[in-house]
Amino acid sequence: MADRLLRWMGRVLVGLLGLSMVAPFLYMLSTSLMDEFEVLRFPPALWPGHPRPGNYQAALTALPFARFFLNSLVFAGSVAVAQVATSATAAYALARLRFPGRERVFFTVLTVMMVPTIVLLIPRFLLVNALGWVDSYAGLISTEVVSVWGIFLLRQFFQTLPRDLEDAARLDGAGEWTVFRRIILPLTRPALATLFVFAFVDQWKNFLWPLIVTRSLDMQVMELGIASFHGVYYTNWPYQMAAAVAGVLPLLLLFLVAQRAFVRGIQLSGLR
């Protein structure tokens, strides 16, 4: 009896929590459609009297959001592709190929995970600055091309693959590159997809590095764009929420499409 009561209480609480997870998104959406003066009411309006989709056009053209969106896409997209490529090759060497000092190399690589990003940020900025890459795609992308987490994740995954197929291919005279391309990569597609979506989302959400390394409006990414929009239209909540929806939507869509990849990534990294 007490057990059942507890269980029901738990469900109700989880339900309420779940509601609180969705509510801010819904409120973001509804505010984005409101009149500029409708938001200055108490008790607050929950839904716009006359929805104004025009807010989006007005807000998203007030700053060059199309350009920001493109920049985010280029930045997050190329970093994700590069991370998948470098992680896959490195993880393959660390999981499958034999060379002296392999474990030592692996642990040396892992030490990077222990170092907080902010420690690396200052010297990386000075390096990029010395290379003359500040305020360019090269500056944005170059530092993020390798993910130690990605190497770790894929190495774990490679180690779970059976060796029979590879060995058969090697006996047939296939080189390591062929084995990697034709056998390992197809088998690891789910893990690669996981790494890709995580890298993409991480970089899309990356705020500090773009903040530091970009200067001009033309090089800003979505996150920076929304933040500077916040500074300009400080009191206009409908416009701000319209920009926020535009920032949230791409990632939420990606998440809904690739939900399994996300969950798998969390399980792979959380449970060794």
């Binding site: 505010t31 490529a85 090759t89 060497a93 060379f99 902010i118 200052i122 705020f207 959380g270």
Partner: protein
């Protein structure tokens, strides 16, 4: 054994490099210092000539005969050792009949007004008395710093050690280790010696320049076209223009020696100058040896390049003995290459650079990066704001365990609900994949004091309106609530996976033993979940120590520094105050604190869990 021979040859080349490269670097650096000496003295000569030579009446330039007198006078100055010449327009005055300046050189001098290397010396523009037009040039020949032969001896030692290394190529591993260690030690000593030679030559050049400038300034007052009892400092300053020397009045001289003085802006070399019976000046400049940090590193690095080369050769000879293995190794490094190269350049390099930065004063504008030892750390420890930000960060971190409790609760409820779990997971995970700035904005809107949803909901329960983000007492709490909201789904997902990994038999066994739900949770679930808990805690705490975006967007560290966290402090120190050395020290301190906190967590929760 031909391949062995090839590897030995490679080792020999590398060994030769270890001997010669640092010496070559030292030679180059010495030549640069000597050029710098010529350039400084040439500028001083140009300034001196302009100061003491009367202008030609009615046209720009100097009275030609007087110019010749001045130029001749240069060579008779007491203690003067520099080869020198003065050009009236393009004609040399002292090397009479010598070649005039090539027209291209003259054009460069006029247009760029910058020093030009000419023959074995340096040429700088000579301007008229008003410092308006270039009317000639001053040339000072290069003087050699006293040759220091010590690198020859250390070089010989390195050569011997390298011979040992070459001999050991292809032999036993222990032998290779011993010879390589000897070789590396010798190479380091050699590199250090070459660096010392560079510093010595630089110190000599700098002091020589100061002496020559002192001679010129000491001589100038007696030769001024208009004799004055007390020459103003501003007039004499013409002599030191372009030389990197500053003049100041001094009370009394402490001898005539050039002294090294440590100032707030770094080391300085100071030369006292006697002008008259009661008047002393001091000439101050950054000593040249203080600017040789790059050459020191270069000498040491070049010495070690040879060591690495010999080591690679030794290793290659072993690997070549089994070509299959060599092939495998090359393949492996080809696969590792891109990631390894990037990590070296953008992670390991920056780590060392960060450590170096933390010991130096560095801003983007001042080219002199002064070594300050641990002073950046001391400044950080003495800065009350640093401590405030540390306290705020630690307080903020408390949201992690709170979120974990919530997440575990949600995971426990969800674990048995199949389809509902998937839906719930989607819902709970959404904040984690949403744009951080957008999330911050919607929360700021909901937390707004006058029209906010949160105050309205709480008002319905009877809580008075609060300015959540504007009140120093609640701002950090508000940020923590937002973080919990964002992280809850992520942690829940991990806990659900962890719960599903616990074999059902344990629950069943406990049930058979008569344990109720409460006891099963405490005795079975929680202990078996410990590795997952540890993972969530450690990664969560590491993440929470690096919170930045919410603070930047929502509060700017305010109100009254109530939400000033470490990373925000570092950001401001570096990119708003441009104190990169100071910021690096703060960042390293954060790293050390984080290591300590992580270690404590492992000690508390890290015991190995035995299944059964």
């Amino acid at each position: 054994m031909r391949p062995q021979l090839a590897w030995r040859l490679l080792a020999a080349i590398a060994g030769t490099g270890a001997v010669t490269l640092p010496i070559a670097a030292a030679r180059l650096a010495t030549a640069r210092a000597e050029d710098s000496l010529s350039e400084r003295v040439a500028y001083a000569v140009a300034g001196y000539v302009a100061l003491v030579t009367p202008a030609a009446p009615g046209r720009p330039g100097y009275e030609p005969r007087q110019l010749l007198v001045t130029a001749r006078g240069l060579r008779t100055l007491p203690g003067w050792s520099a080869p020198v010449d003065v050009y009236a327009v393009r004609t040399p005055l002292l090397a009479a009949g010598g070649p005039g300046l090539p027209s291209a050189t003259w054009r460069d001098l006029q247009r760029l007004e910058s020093p030009v290397r000419l023959g074995a010396g340096t040429l700088v523009p000579l301007k008229d008395r008003e410092a308006w037009d270039v009317v000639g040039a001053a040339w000072v020949g290069r003087r050699s710093a006293p040759r220091d032969r010590r690198p020859v001896w250390t070089g010989l030692a390195v050569a011997l050690a390298a011979l040992g290394g070459v001999w050991a190529v292809g032999r036993g591993r222990g032998l290779r280790r011993v010879t390589m260690a000897t070789f590396a030690a010798a190479a380091l000593v050699h590199g250090g010696m070459c660096a010392a030679v560079v510093r010595g030559a630089a110190a000599w050049s700098g002091d020589r320049a100061l002496r020559d400038i002192r001679t010129l300034i000491g001589d100038a007052p007696a030769r001024l076209p208009v004799v004055r009892s007390r020459v103003p400092l501003a007039q004499l300053a013409r002599v030191v223009q372009g030389t990197g020397v500053t003049l100041a009045e001094a009370d009394s001289a402490q001898g005539t020696m050039i002294r090294r003085v440590e100032t707030a802006r770094g080391p300085r070399a100071v030369a006292p100058i006697r002008l008259g019976r009661r008047r002393w000046l001091s000439a101050t400049m950054v000593p040249l040896e203080a600017r040789q940090g790059g050459w020191t590193l270069a000498a040491l690095g070049l010495a070690l390049v040879g060591v690495v080369g010999v080591a690679v050769a030794g290793w290659g000879a072993v690997a070549a003995a089994s070509p299959r293995r060599l092939g495998e190794i090359v393949t492996a490094w080809a696969f590792l290459g891109p990631a390894a190269l990037h990590l070296v350049v953008f992670s390991f390099g920056p780590m060392l650079f960060a450590a170096w930065l933390s010991l130096h004063e560095w801003d983007l504008l001042d080219p002199v990066r002064r070594f300050v030892g641990l002073r950046n750390f001391a400044a950080a420890a003495a800065d009350p704001l640093a401590w405030v930000s540390l306290r705020n960060t630690l307080l903020y971190t408390l949201y992690v365990p709170v979120t974990m409790m919530l997440a575990l609760g949600v995971a426990l409820v969800l674990q048995h609900h199949g389809g509902l779990t998937r839906l719930a997971r989607t819902v709970f995970f959404m904040p984690y994949v949403a744009s951080v700035v957008a999330v911050a904005l919607v929360w700021q809107w909901m937390l707004s004091p006058d029209f906010g949803l949160v105050n309205w909901v709480l008002g319905a329960v009877g809580v008075p309106a609060v300015d959540w983000l504007g009140d120093p007492h609640t701002a950090l709490l508000a940020v923590m609530v937002i973080s919990t909201w964002v992280q809850l789904g992520y942690q829940t997902t991990i806990f659900v996976a962890g719960l599903q990994n616990i074999p059902q038999v344990y629950h069943d066994a406990a049930r058979v033993d008569g344990a109720n739900a409460w006891q099963r949770f405490w005795r079975v679930t929680l202990p078996l979940l410990r590795p997952v808990t540890l993972f969530v805690l450690v990664t969560g705490v590491i993440g929470s120590f690096q919170v930045f975006t919410y603070i930047y967007v929502l509060t700017d560290g305010g109100p009254l520094h109530a939400t000033d966290v470490i990373v925000y402090r570092i950001y401001q120190t570096a990119w708003e105050f441009l104190q990169f050395g100071h910021a690096s020290a703060l960042a390293l301190a954060l790293f050390v604190i984080l290591l300590g906190v992580t270690w404590v967590q492992f000690r508390l929760l890290g015991r190995r869990v035995e299944y059964g």
